[in-house]
Amino acid sequence: MASSLLRTVLYVDDEPDIREIVEMSLGLIDGLKVHTRGSGESALADIASIAPDMLLIDVMMPGLDGPATVARLREQPRWAQLPFVFMTAKAMPQEVARFKEIGAADVIAKPFDPMELGNRVVAIWKGLNHG
């Protein structure tokens, strides 16, 4: 059963500037710990030690892209139900629908408002916990 409190988020994006912005934005949420990684591969390698409640992940990355990373994660029973949110500059309706079909809790479009990202993520989390 998912925890009622969102405590730890893992953000994955190969773009270092965006990682900094997300870390800063989500850091505005009291009590939320934010981890970032620069690739799908490093996220897979470190996820057990990070143990996030939710994954935010960029779609287009070299090597393992967002969807491929999520697919690999979900092969592991421990992470099969981990809520994940894609972040992408390609957020056309048909792409959003596709991402949701593969299980994304939501899709956040880039550019995003750094002052509002935390509220959006918390709202997504609360929505998941209410079914």
């Binding site: 773009e15 500059a89 880039k110």
Partner: protein, 121 residues
Amino acid sequence: MDDAQQIQEKMRSLGERYLRRTYLEIDQMEAALARLRAGSTDGLKELERMMHKIRGSGAMFGFATLSDCAAEGELLCASSQPDPSVIAKLETHAREMRVHVLDAAKLHNILLENGPASLHG
């Protein structure tokens, strides 16, 4: 300094860094285009990814014209084969993107090339 001011300052600082980095990345794009023009059969996917990143981050930092130009280049990479006409169009996009970077740098009083410090600050 409150949260909003801190974020604004951080975004400004990151935006400067983005412009400096993009200026160098356009060199890499032009090198990739030169390889395509010389007959290399791959590279379009990497160009697409580079354009995608410039597009996304450009929009984040408010460099809309640069972002829009990168978006057009990205679409061209995604929907085309690397024939001479496509390569020529992408070369034009790269040149236009460089102009947009220079314009943005001038507007925001950012030094792009004046020694290593200005490039890596």
